[in-house]
Amino acid sequence: MTDLTTSYLGLSLKHPVLASASPLTGSVESLLELESAGAAAVVLPSLFEEQIEADLALIHHPGDGGSNPEAHGGYLPDAADHPTALDHALDLLGAAKDQLRIPVIASLNGDSDGGWATYAAALEGGGADALELNIYLVAADPTVSGSDVERAYLRLVEHVRAAVSVPLAVKVGPQFSSPANMARRLADAGADALVLFNRFYQPDIDLETMSVRPDLVLSTSADLRLTLRWIAVMAGRVDAALAATGGAHTADDVVKLLLAGADVAMMAAALLKRGPEHLHDVVEGVQRWFDERDYRSLDEARGSVSQVSVADPAAYERANYLKTLASYRPGTSSDA
């Protein structure tokens, strides 16, 4: 039987399939279900600094100034004991650490320089085995250059690195001019692992109200390709572990990612659709695939189809595009 044990963020995992941040990792009950379904580790839902701010705004509603002599203390009950997202995140983290045997990775999405470092330290203090920084900055300001954005990412990682000592993963989106170069620099800034890729909320337009309604669309196996390319490109060339997220729905998906060079694969959408127990089937399928091919350990196979390892490295680059076009036959394309 192939040895699937994997090391990620300094944690020893029994296999490379993790549950990434999703509503499923948001309660101790479902975390326990994920554990019994065989998850190697779990990533808790992101603590959003903006949520903490929104909670504060709720507690300190403008109406609480007291324009009314009969309502000196404002209109809602005293909020002294009303916790914010930070308290809930720490509560969940504490309970997860108490009740789970598998490693628990906390995730953070900050909004200010001070916030990133402060809340990262809070989560470290709450017992997180490792930390995942969920960074998404949509660079919408035309006066800010790509290198400015990159510098902001790096500064942020450096800040957090200086503030905590637990292993640090950085989850980013694919929209860099040179993602592989960025990956290297993130690693230099202190990232122990890169989680590829973040899914942004994407805008939609409500035709009834002519207003913008951003929401999150769950990934499908089709989304795997993007991740696959960049994992393959980065594998062996970046001094950080690589975690693939987004599009890993089946055992085959996971195997592909591992062959491309991913250290671990993270699942969310497929588990939300099919339930936590699906994770068990995926791990079994991965085991079977490697068993059938007589690999001794995963380390043997990992990255064997990465860009540095394949005969045709250009397949991961633009040539791929041309080749696909050339092989295209009307009426025969699959829906992939």
Binding site: E49, I52, E53, D55, L56, L58, I59, H61, P62, G63, G65, G66, S67, N68, P69, E70, A71, H72, G73, G74, Y75, L76, P77, D78, A79, D81, H82, P83, T84, A85, L86, D87, H88, D111, S112, G114, G115, T118, Y119, A122, M210, S211
Partner: protein, 1197 residues
């Protein structure tokens, strides 16, 4: 400083003790006592325990009468029980107070003493409420300060157990209940020592118990009632000694000594003032200074008022006393004297050891928190020194009618130099009060100084001002009056210089901090010349800072308070500046502890940056020659009364008005808000006629009548000022007599708009090029103010639309009618006022409103200015407020009176009809079916005028009588208006009764789902899963379905409306309710600041409330049954939005989801089930057929 020093207000001081020694606490909101109930609920909710480790049970009732009943029951059940109340609430408890005292049930009721409503309501403090229970048999203990509110609370709880006589423990509303002061906290072991467990067990043992039953509350007859009443005498007689004993024990335990009557002053005093409550400290200050100057004077502070220990009082007076002035903070018209005065007279007559007791005079002071100062006390001692002092006097006012007042000289009193005094002018919403409370706490905690904070609010709920008075003294502070000479004045918003005279309180050489944009020079240049003169004349040290900009730069918009607080400490020497900054930061850390370090850091950074932004003004030698003058409070066009009286009150000088200036009987001229140009909005809506589609929604939803629609003939605009905007009017048939060339105008009232933005968020017309640009858009007011002022003035001069032919039961038609409710002081974006304004547009010229006490009675009737106004014919809503609990009955009484007059007029007209002829015939005829009500009303008004002409020409007894009543031949529309606290809770019995009466009245419930006016306490209209005060853990039970209860009556028209969900339905329902010949009930969803929402989108919240089925819209018209239709029409569609999705957009629900997700989850599930169930019920109700005839028998006059 010992850790037992606390800086708290009087309410908290009393409630802390009460909660520790109670098992059952019955509560009901009433200002100024509500915070005691709120604290008790919050403490129990958080699991805080009493002395015995139990969490006291806190129950909110439907009224104070209910709270008293529950208190009575809890006591009969053998529990230690308490309640908190004031004013009308205490009066509602009176019957039970007799019972509780008659049954010798030990209890304490804590009262924040407040004026009882007479010619007017007042939320402020005096003793008219507690004096109304002095005859009930309750013992009464009066606290004079925040420290005493705590100490005597405990002494009352202790003594009631010892004597079995129940106590009213009271302190002055606002002056003590809301004063923040440094007090020594009573320790738990002291409380435990004062509460005798054996007495507790004895009380518990007397509880009703089927194991050893007895019957209580028998009916007794002439033979024994009297004797049984006398049987309790020994218990009452034992109270003074028991109280003395408890006070002595307390003194042994704490070192703080009280006596039932405390004397202070010269041991051989000749002149003595007897007084009770917070005024005692004030008189004490005067006495101290007089004695120091050699005067033989003294003061007796009455603490135990009932039972009145006459011998004890005499014993407290020095035997040298020859003259006594008794000060009463109440008024009993027609009595031989006020109550404390009579008690003292009787005591001296009975117990004075010699045949010539001191001469006693009685005076009234301080009604409704009227200032009572040492200067006034000096005037009282001066009167006692007269050869023939007046037997009856007042002090603190100028009485030019009955000439009872003493004349006092404010300058005769100067506060000691070592008492540091600071006054701050802030806005209600800017956190100034919070920061000042905090400053008091910081000084209390970090120095040996005693701190005192008192906060004065104006009566508006939007754009209101606050004035904070802070004292710091090496001694405990007994000064229960406002500061008039301050060494520090903080002016936290520039507008204060025009609205008030902030520097009038600045002492010579005082430090002044002005928060304003610009350099010190620029700030100086912006000041009115009068202010510049004051600065020069008083040699004031002026510092300026743009704290708002600094706060915004630190991502703390609108939170400049801690920055200004830092400047205050830096500019005074109360604390070393570094220590103060540390303490402010600690306080910030306390507030934000677990809630957002980033916010914490930002606040800290803002505090650190404060002093760098502070700059001193180099004061020029005199005012600038071109300095502007202070804005006059009202325009010259305002009527005389407004100029003389209203303007004086607006300028903060109401205290100076003499008695003769005030109308007697409580009536005031209406429509005065339009003279108070508050100009509080920073942004106002600006109209773009290019895009406007004439939908009139902006005008309909405006809570302040500050954006209006007019349609006028094109020729009327010939003289329009430059910049006046109008457009071709798209007439869509909501008026009969339109001309296609007519022009429409949407006009904002720039000085009356509150900038709430409700109009803009409802505007459906978008620019095709950019959706964010609508037909109206919020824009900064400054560049538009002058133009829009001119435009609005011109707009007002344009003719009002003729009501006849307007389809007033449509959205657009109603908005062409003039609103007769405008510019109220309601919160910006208020959800209630749009309904009231609409009502006046539909029915204003014949509207009579009975208004229950609550928000609507405050923004509707609080001085100085009121919003109900007249139309161009001099007609308009007649409005009256009786009480909170009785409004339905009050309104019914008005209806009965009007019906009586109408019937009498009709009968007289019948009698004269043969002589009068066709005018009488037409007046007596039934209006044709489907006739336009406006045309009918107008026609009847013409006929009445014709009739009067005839009557004048034909004098005689019947003629003359009819002349007096003829106007009643035009039918009045009577509306009973109030909030959910009234209709669901305290007034429900009356509402129910009036609905059953068949009378032609219309009840409009402005349902905010909480007691909004008293600060957001739970009512039976509060939905399940919401947090509110008194439900700080989330309301566990479902909202009461008032509409369904009303439908059960059969003949009642019932509608549930939400303007933002369906405007047409709202208008239609009000029109149908008005037309329904019997009782009508319209329940109007009214978003409130207490919901924790962005009020600019309050209409959007209404839409979601209906879409989720949370607030279904319907109209139940019993008249339709007769027409063969079903009575109930559901006007909203089946729910399409999950309750949770609606609820999570509102703070009241979202707070619970954050605070306690598990409970929130359960309650949300139940709340969704409530909605599903109710919708299912209504769907069945739509098809219910009822066979009884619900029609109202038309009275045949």
């Amino acid at each position: 400083m010992a850790p037992t020093q606390l800086t708290v207000d009087g309410n908290e001081a009393a409630a802390r003790v009460a909660h520790r020694v109670s098992q059952v606490i019955a509560i009901y909101p009433i200002t100024p006592a509500s915070p005691m109930g709120e604290l008790a609920d919050a403490w129990s909710q958080a699991g805080a325990t009493n002395l015995w480790g139990e969490v006291p049970r806190v129950a909110e009732l439907q009224s104070e009468a209910g709270a008293a009943g529950t208190l009575h029951g809890a006591l009969q059940g053998g529990a230690l029980a308490t309640t908190f109340t004031a004013s009308q609430g205490l009066l509602l408890m009176v019957p039970n107070l007799y019972k509780i005292a008659g049954e010798l049930l030990p209890a304490v009721i804590h009262v924040a003493a407040r004026s009882v409503a007479t010619h007017a309501l007042s939320i402020f403090g005096d003793h008219s409420d507690v004096m109304a229970v002095r005859q009930t048999g309750m013992a009464m203990l009066a606290s004079a300060s925040v420290q005493e509110a705590q100490d005597l609370a405990l002494i009352a709880h202790s003594a009631t157990l010892a004597t079995r006589v129940p106590f009213v423990h009271f302190f002055d509303g606002f002056r003590t209940s809301h004063e923040v002061a440094t007090v020594t906290a009573v320790k738990d072991e002291v409380i435990a020592a004062m509460i005798d467990d054996e007495l507790v067990a004895a009380h518990q043992g007397r509880g009703l118990d089927p194991d050893h039953p007895e019957v209580r509350g028998t009916a007794q007859n002439p033979d024994v009632f009297f004797q049984a009443r006398e049987a309790a005498n020994p218990f009452h007689a034992a109270v003074p000694d028991a109280v003395r004993g408890a006070m002595d024990q307390f003194a042994d335990l704490t070192g703080r000594r009280y006596r039932p009557f405390d004397y202070a002053g010269h041991p051989e005093a000749e002149r003595v003032v007897v007084i009770m409550g917070s005024g005692a400290g004030t008189v004490g200050e005067a006495v101290e200074s007089m004695v120091a100057a050699g005067a033989r004077v003294g003061v007796v502070t009455v603490r135990l008022y009932r039972p009145f220990d006459a011998a004890g009082l005499v014993a407290a007076l020095p035997p040298t006393t020859t003259r006594v002035a008794v000060m009463d903070r109440t008024k009993e018209p027609g009595s031989a004297g006020e109550p404390l005065y009579l008690d003292v007279v009787a005591a001296l007559a009975r117990h004075w050891p010699t045949a010539t007791p001191p001469r006693v005079i009685g005076g009234r002071y301080g009604l409704s928190s009227k200032e009572f100062t040492p200067a006034m006390a000096l005037a009282v001692f001066g009167e006692l020194d007269e050869d023939e002092p007046r037997a009856e006097f007042t002090v603190g006012i100028v009485d030019d009618v009955t000439h009872l007042n003493l004349v006092h000289d404010a300058a005769s009193w100067v506060e000691p130099d070592d008492v540091r005094r600071a006054v701050f002018f802030g806005l209600g919403s800017d956190g100034t009060v919070g920061a000042n409370k905090n400053s008091a706490k910081i000084v209390g905690a970090h120095t040996d100084l005693h701190a005192q904070g008192y906060f004065v609010y104006d009566s508006k709920k939007s754009g209101s001002m606050t004035v904070s008075h802070l004292r710091f003294s090496p001694r405990p502070i007994a000064s229960a009056y406002l500061i008039d000479q301050a060494s520090f004045v903080g002016v936290h918003f520039l507008g204060a210089f025009d609205r008030l005279d902030p520097l009038a309180v600045a002492a010579q050489g005082a430090t002044v901090l002005i928060n304003a944009p610009g350099t010190p020079k620029e700030v100086w240049a912006s000041l009115p010349s009068q202010v510049q003169e004051q600065i020069v004349a008083k040699a004031l040290q002026v510092w300026t800072i743009d704290a708002n900009a600094l706060a915004a730069a630190h991502r703390l918009p609108g939170r400049a308070n801690t920055i200004l607080q830092t400047c205050f400490f830096a500019l005074t020497d109360l604390l070393d500046t570094e220590d103060a900054i540390g303490a402010i930061k600690d306080a910030i850390t306390d507030t934000y502890a677990k809630r957002g370090r980033a916010v914490l850091d930002r606040n800290h950074a803002a505090v650190d940056a404060a002093l760098g932004a502070l700059a001193q003004l180099e004061v020029p030698g005199g005012p600038d020659r071109d300095a502007r003058s202070r804005r006059t409070p009202v325009p010259a066009a305002a009527p005389d009364f407004v100029q003389r009286v209203t303007a004086t009150i607006m300028a903060g000088n109401g205290d100076l008005l003499p008695v003769s200036a005030l109308p007697v009987g409580g009536g005031f001229p209406t429509g005065t808000t339009r003279w108070e140009k508050r100009a509080i909005a920073s942004e106002i809506p600006i109209w773009d006629p290019e895009i406007c589609i004439d939908c009139a929604r902006c005008a309909l939803v405006c809570p302040h009548a500050a954006i209006r629609l007019k349609v006028v003939p094109a020729a009327a605009l010939d003289n329009a000022p430059a910049g006046f905007r109008d457009k071709a009017f798209r007439d869509k048939g909501f008026r009969d007599d339109g001309n296609p060339s007519d022009r429409s105008i949407i006009q904002v009232a720039p000085d009356d708009c509150t900038g709430c933005g409700v109009c803009v968020s409802i505007c459906p017309a978008h620019s095709k090029e950019a959706v964010k640009h609508r037909a109206i858009n919020m824009e900064p007011v400054a560049p538009h103010r002058e133009t829009e002022r001119t435009n609005f003035e011109y707009f007002l001069s344009l003719p009002e639309h003729n009501r006849i032919g307007l389809k007033l039961d449509t959205v657009k038609g109603s908005q062409l009618a003039q609103p007769l409710f405008e510019f109220s002081g309601a919160c910006a974006g208020c959800g209630e006022t749009p309904y009231l304004k609409l009502l006046t547009q539909m029915l204003g010229d014949r509207l009579v409103v009975a208004n229950a006490t609550g928000c609507s009675s405050i923004y509707g009737g609080n001085l100085p200015t009121t919003p109900w106004r007249l139309d161009q014919h001099g007609r308009g809503p007649a409005w009256a407020n009786s009480l909170f609990e009785d409004n339905a009955e009050f309104g019914l009484g008005i209806r009965l009176a009007l019906d009586h007059h109408e019937a009498a007029a009709t009968a007289l007209l019948r009698e004269l009809a043969p002589s009068v002829g066709h005018v009488a015939e037409e007046l007596l005829a039934e209006p044709a079916d489907g006739a336009d009500p406006e045309a009918t009303i107008a026609r009847r008004r013409e006929l009445v005028e014709d009739l009067r002409t005839w009557l004048a020409a034909h004098p005689g007894a019947v003629s003359d009588r009819l002349g007096e009543l003829a106007h009643h031949l035009v039918r009045r529309s009577v509306w009973l208006v109030g909030g959910d606290g009234w209709a669901y809770d305290i007034g429900f019995g009356g509402v129910d009764h009036v609905l059953a009466s068949g009378a032609d009245v219309n009840i409009l419930v402005l349902d905010t789902e909480v007691y909004s006016n008293t600060g957001g306490q739970t009512s039976k209209a509060t939905p399940r899963a919401a947090v509110a005060k008194f439900s700080s853990g989330g309301k566990a039970t479902a909202k009461k379905d008032l509409g369904m209860l009303a439908m059960d009556h059969g003949g009642v028209y019932v509608a549930q409306i939400a303007m933002g969900a369906n405007m047409t339905q709202s208008v239609k329902a009000l029109a149908e309710a008005a037309a329904h010949p019997g009782p009508s009930l319209v329940i109007a969803y009214s978003p409130c600041i207490a919901h924790g929402i962005d009020m600019s989108d309050m209409m959007g919240h209404q839409k979601q409330a209906a879409a989720s089925g949370y607030w279904p819209l319907y109209r139940f018209d019993p008249g339709r049954e007769e027409a063969g239709d079903h009575a109930l029409h559901l006007d909203s569609r089946p729910p399409t939005v999950a309750f949770r999705d609606f609820a999570m957009t509102e703070g009241r629900f979202a707070m619970l989801a954050r605070a306690n997700p598990a409970v929130a989850e359960d309650l949300m599930t139940l709340a969704q089930a409530d909605i599903d169930d109710r919708w299912h019920l209504y769907e069945q109700m739509v098809n219910v057929e009822r066979t009884a005839r619900f029609g109202i028998l038309e009275e045949d006059p």
